[in-house]
Assembly symmetry: C2
């Protein structure tokens, strides 16, 4: 029996499918307010759940022998296709333990165990290879390139990364960046990537590396879209109940890709709308551990926040 997945209602008709590749993890997280143990984390978990509110998601990731049915159910309940998820029985799922201190301004990695992720090679099932909207979530650039090499046809590709890969795999990362459409990273990563401390200069510099557009995410300070047609700046949603910032950026890019697939449009105007929906979606993520807040609030809350955000920037 086909289950109906609640999504944001958009006047676009049938949404295109999306392909999301990244990590699935269990996280232990300590914030100034609370402690979460063994919560569902990883770039692909956040991104795929966020995207699922807009368009069908086909997920590529690896999980270990401790990835219980409740987590599989949770992803399937959002209609996420798990055909591309590898189950590696040789060990446990990728584990990350982190701590936020000083009023959420400092994030420290307490523990990290790659586990089955160490030997992960993403393999795209046949049905995934011509999906038109692709997100390369944060994984090593060699794995991101391996995904691109399996793609057929001309997909719109968004990629994210983290500072680790910029520092240790810069050359491989540049190869990936040259082949994608939209590079979406945070402000400190943009500085690290370009050597430019001014965020505006860094953004334009990113375009010189190859992508058609770049998004710089600034957390509570919003996000920029650098595009051949102009610069678009958006404030963050006014979150007053920050619970756990983990996954905000992953939810943002997931929702961004989901929206683009839902309207099947990658124009400048569509990208701006996608930024609004991405910001609205990410704001629900940070109000709880994992995607709990987002899943609970549902598509109506995303639309409410989209409208609030629209009001905040209307003159």
């Amino acid at each position: 029996m086909q289950k109906t997945i609640e999504t944001v209602s958009l006047p676009s008709g049938v949404a295109c499918p999306t392909l999301i590749v990244g990590s699935v993890a269990f996280d232990d997280i300590v914030t100034p307010a609370m402690t979460g143990r063994r919560i569902l984390g990883g770039s692909a978990s956040y991104a795929s759940i966020a995207a699922s509110f807009f368009a069908p998601v086909r997920l590529v990731a690896v999980v270990g022998n401790d990835f219980e049915k409740e987590f599989i159910d949770r992803l399937e309940n959002r209609g996420i296709c798990l055909e591309g998820v590898q189950h590696d029985a040789s060990g446990p799922t990728f584990f990350w333990a982190g701590e936020y201190t000083e009023d959420f301004n400092v994030r420290r990695t307490v523990d990290i165990k790659l586990n089955v992720f160490e030997n992960f090679r993403p393999v795209l099932p046949e049905s995934y290879q011509s999906v038109p909207y692709v997100l390369l979530g944060n994984i090593g650039p060699d794995l991101q390139m391996h995904v691109l090499n399996q793609m057929r046809g001309d997909a719109f590709v968004v990629a994210d990364t983290i500072d680790l890969w910029i520092k240790t795999r810069h050359g491989e990362l540049l190869e990936v960046v040259r082949k994608i459409d939209c590079y979406a990273i945070n402000d400190s990563e943009a500085t690290l990537m370009t050597g430019e401390s001014n965020t505006i200069k860094a953004g334009w510099r990113l375009l010189e590396l190859g992508p058609k557009m770049a998004i710089i995410k600034k957390g509570e300070h919003g996000a920029y879209l650098f595009h051949s047609e102009g610069l678009f700046a958006l404030p963050a949603y006014p979150v007053t109940d920050l619970h756990d910032p983990t996954g905000a950026g992953d939810s943002f890019v997931g929702a961004l890709l989901g929206y683009l697939a839902a309207v099947n449009d990658t124009s400048y105007a569509a990208l701006k709308q996608a930024m609004l929906y991405a910001t609205a979606t990410a704001s629900l993520t940070v109000e709880a551990f994992s995607c709990d807040g987002l899943e609970k609030a549902g598509p109506e809350a995303i639309v409410d926040r989209y409208n609030t955000l629209l009001g905040m920037i209307s003159i």
Copy 2:
């Protein structure tokens, strides 16, 4: 002979006069790029020059025996009325020496000499007392209150402050804040004032202290307007050639007040427009020492940047 002062052309007819009270100073400034000696500084200098691009300015401040004619000429060249400026021959003008380090992120006071400012008591000439648009720039809250007590009629009053007064004169500051219309401070000051580290919460909390609206300035991250009709968020102008951030906030509030006086409108819609013009104006200030960049660029540049900013937030 009446000289014509170039201002931003607005479809409002005749601008109302503004009253600006604050400090006039000489600054020595060291930035990662350059060193400026004895440049015209102080909250009232920045604010009055910025406001003069929109509406007539009547200035109240004190200068010392070293305030040469070139500086008087400079203010008069912007049409600023100096009837309320006290010339104290007993000593030199207020002096501040500061240094920006770590890519402009840290500002350190190297030297401060109050000089004639120490005994300053602002006195409003008769012709200033019923001016309808007033800016209480950064000076002690006792002096700000002394100005309010000399006002007749129902002016629209904007006030700024700095962390020093929040820490040392909190009670007096609260008295001032209770009597004003718009409290415009930066994000760290808002946190200090309210005890609330979340900027959104801090902004709404400021309204509980009395003012009808509050503006929180976030430098390169833009500004918020907290208003009974809603929350408005604006990004900063995309400055790529930061030269000296000193006076950005003062220019912002000066231009804000000037715009409101120019259109003689303090509605929510007018305040939003004022935020755009204030942001455009402040961006010209930070591209040079003192108000050099702003004065050189002139009203056309302010309008150009206003339009750029409008484009950046249009969806």
